[in-house]
Structures are given as C-alpha cells and as structure tokens.
Assembly symmetry: D3
Homo-oligomer: 106 residues x 6
C-alpha cells in the first residue's frame, strides 16, 4: 500500500511536507521499526513521555497504538498510576481521564 497517504500526509502533507516526511520516514518508518526495542516497549515509553510532558493531544492516538502493540488496558492504567509519582498528580489525572474516555466510553 505505498500509494496510500499516511495520516500525517493526509492532514499536513500540503502544509508542512518536511515535517510529514520526517514523521513518516524517520520517526515511524525507521526508528519505530528498529528491533533494538520492541514496539510494546516503545509504546510504554512513548505514553510515559506524553504523560510526563502533559502532551494530552497526542495521548489518545498513542494509547490506541499501545493496545495494538500488545499493552493491556489495565497495564496502561497502572502505568499512569505509576507516573503520578514521577510526573505529578495533575498530569496523571488528566491522562487517566483521557484513558477512561477512550476505554470506557459512556
């Protein structure tokens, strides 16, 4: 499927082509694919960075990706609980609220 544009290309391809190229070719096409760290571990690490930095806009996408990469939902809840101590309660509460909306839509 090389002809199908990536999500980044679809949204930002015409506006920020270099950022899209770096995202698709370097970050996802190269770094995420390396075998030195499993995709499951990369997802745990990425979610931790997003929570620690309070980057909540990117969290839903990476929580879904974490599930796809084999992290269980209750492991993600526990990861956020663990991160409360390292990133602080406010970031953890914002993150767990997003996770609940994603995993337990009312």
């Amino acid at each position: 499927m090389p002809d199908q544009p990536s999500p980044a290309q679809q949204i930002l391809g015409g506006f920020a082509p270099k950022l899209v190229e770096l995202t698709d070719d370097v970050l996802f096409g190269d770094v995420w694919e390396r075998h030195e760290l499993s995709k499951r571990d990369r997802s745990l690490v990425t979610v931790a960075a997003l929570v620690a930095l309070n980057r909540m806009e990117q969290l839903p996408g990476h929580l879904r990706r974490a599930i796809d990469n084999g992290v269980h939902e209750d492991e993600l809840v526990e990861e956020i609980t663990h991160l409360a101590f390292y990133a602080g309660w406010p970031a953890a509460i914002s993150a767990i609220t997003i996770a609940r909306k994603l995993f337990e839509p009312s």
Copy 2:
C-alpha cells in the same frame, strides 16, 4: 531486614521524615511492588519520565535499577534514542551522556 534503614532514610530520614516515609512505604513499598505492571516495564516507564522531564540527577540510579529489573543496556540506549523524538534532542543528549558514563566508564 526491616531494621536496616533505606537509602532515603539514611540520607534524608532525620530531615524530611514524611517524604522518606512516602518514598519508602508508598512509592517503593506499595506502588513499585504491584503486579499490575512488571518491574521491567516500570523501569522503562520511569526512565522515560526522567528523560522527558530532564530530571538528570535521578537518572543514574534508575538506569541501574532498570538493569537490575531486566532491561538490557542496549535497550536503554535505544529507549533514549526513541525519546529524542518525544522529549527533544537536548534531553536525549544529556541522558545518553549520563548513560555512557555509567555503562562505559573510561
């Protein structure tokens, strides 16, 4: 070995007893011991939070703990490489420099 003071107690026990108690009894005695997330995963997550937040003082201790918890040295190097994209290059370069000093002392 309940009679032996923890590292936190030895350094800070007389000065900040409540913070030591919370560190020893809640963070390490309770949260880190929970089975909902493996210690190896908790180490990956903690290292990611420290790098993302640029908390370099705590990094050597948690890199060593990560090794004790079964993360390989080359996985930690790859984790920091991966984090360059999420936490930014400067934090990753500071972290990899600390990791090198720890793992490859000249």
Copy 3:
C-alpha cells in the same frame, strides 16, 4: 460520611481504583491534613505548582479550594501576577483567564 464516595471515586473509582485510593487516602487523607503546613499555605503552593506547570485543567478546582481555605480572590490574582515572572507570561495569562471566568462569570 464514610459511605459517601469521594469525587475521585465517583469519576474514576471503577477505572483506576489504585490512583483513586492514593488520591483519597494518601494525598488528601494524609498529606493535605498534616499540620506542618496550613491548608491556606498548601493551597497557595498547589496553585503555584499548577500555574508553573501549566496544568490548567486542575486549576479551577484548586482555585475554589484556595478560597475555601481562606485565600482571598485578590490574593490569587496577585499570586498569578507574581508567577508571571517565575513561570512566564503565557502560563500566567492562561491562568488569569481561567480565574476571571471562575470569579467574574459574565
């Protein structure tokens, strides 16, 4: 009233029970209740941390709590003005906008 669930329990109790327990029993049930620092001082400190870290989601709740703990509205406005110099103007402007919506609803 021990039978009445806490706000955290109501919202997150079934989804993240450990984080709720830590929030209710350790953070609010133990730390906030300690006499080594008054609740008024804890509110000033908590608001400062939220503004400094740009954690705006938690700010309305803690501004209300600060009022309940005896901080005056004009002291909170002055705190945010003071914090402009330490946390930077953008966080202060976001915070003062939230405070105005809370204290001066149009």
Copy 4:
C-alpha cells in the same frame, strides 16, 4: 490613540490591573520596542518559546504577530519543523496543527 484600551486592558483590565499594566507598559511598551533585537527576531524567539513550552493558547496570536513583523508563513512552518527536534514531536505536531488552522482555514 492613548485613550483606546489595549486588548489586555479590555479583557483583564478590571480583574488583574497590575498584570495588565506589566504586560502593556513593561513587556510590550518597553521590552518589545527595544532596538537591540528586531521585532522579526523577537517574534521568531517568542514563537519558539511558546512551542517549546507547549503554550498553545498564546500561539495563534503570536503567529499572527510574527507575520505582521515580517516572518513569512513558510518560515514559521520551517521553524516549527526545526523545533520538532528541540521541543519534541508532540509539541511540534500540536503547533503545526494550530498554524494550519490559522493559515489554511478550510
């Protein structure tokens, strides 16, 4: 036009007069007007600080100001692409999304 209230005065003048005075008289009235750094450079620097700190609420206003100060739209896109490496991908993606909404309203 000294009789016309500034945007900060209009929104926050009655609620946080000292913060408005510092914003209007010191930050914009004094610092931004100094010739030691051009307004174009100050805009580049301010946008970089906002992206690095993930202060997205203030970004649209300062992107518009950057255009007024002579930064081209494609320079701002490239600045955000450059900042992906220093501030991390998540802040850059949030920023580029805001820039696209501003410059390419659908």
Copy 5:
C-alpha cells in the same frame, strides 16, 4: 543605600543591564513590594514555582529569602513534601537535597 549596587548589578550589571534593571526595578522593586500578597506568601509561591519547574540553581537563594520572610524551615520541608505530589518525586527529591545542604550543613 541607593548607591550600593544590587547583587544582580554586581554580577550581571555590565553584561545584561536591561535584565538587571527589570530584575531590580520591576520584579524586586515593584512586584515583590506590593501589599496585595505578603512577602511570606510570595516566598511560598516562588519556592513552589522553582521546585515545580526544577529550577534548582535559584532554589538556595529563595529558600534563604523564605526564612527571612518568616517561613519556618519545617514549613519549607513540608512544602517540598507536598510538592512531591504536584511536581513529581524527582523534583522534590532534588529540592529536599538542596534544602538539607542549606539547613543542615555537615
């Protein structure tokens, strides 16, 4: 004593005169002197911002200033303990270590 240079002037006066002027005349000469918030409260707030932002270089000076402004040493220890939950453990541990060196020099 208007003839005596301020600490900022002595260290940075010739190199960054505008930053020194803003520090001396606006931040300390105007904002810190305002009666809308007591100096003791300003010290609590400033220490909280420094811990939350992990700005450890400025912490010793502001811990000393806090003591001068009437905050007790054990209140500062409790403030840092409280902040562990909002700023995260790593910043709190770095801060408490600095406070111990200041208040309990070996």
Copy 6:
C-alpha cells in the same frame, strides 16, 4: 572531509550509533541545511528553545554556533532578556550567567 568523525561520533559514536546518525545525518546534515529558514534564524530559535526548556548543558555550544551564524553577542543578551518574560526569570538568569561566562571569561 567525510572521513573526519563528527563531534557526536567522537563522543557517542560507539555507544549510541543510531542517535549519532540521526544527529549528524538528519538534524545537522538535513534540517539545519535547509534554505527555508536561515542559519541565523535557526540559531535564534534553537537558543530560545534551550532557554525555555532550561536545557543549560546544550546552551554554550549553541551560543557559540549562534555567533558563528551571525547573531551578535548583544542580540543574544537581548534574546535572553526577552525570554525572561516567556520562559520565566529563573531560566533567563541561568542562561545569562552561562552567556556571561562564555563571552566575558574572567
């Protein structure tokens, strides 16, 4: 001069080869060389990001690079003064202290 190892290669080449490759080939070899933003502007932007994020370890190298790229020393001092308002005073004071040591070695 393709045979001469880069500074990153010399220090980290054997320990973190992928991070070095990304630094040399993508960040410096590709992004910094793009004409969409001048090197002088990239230096202003990079210094702003480092100050805003309090990444002081990387600041001396990028201040020197800024000078090489045509930013004047007094523009850098003014940039840091400007950033005091956006990144907060503590980061600006740490940065100006580093700049003074670099530009005015006693």
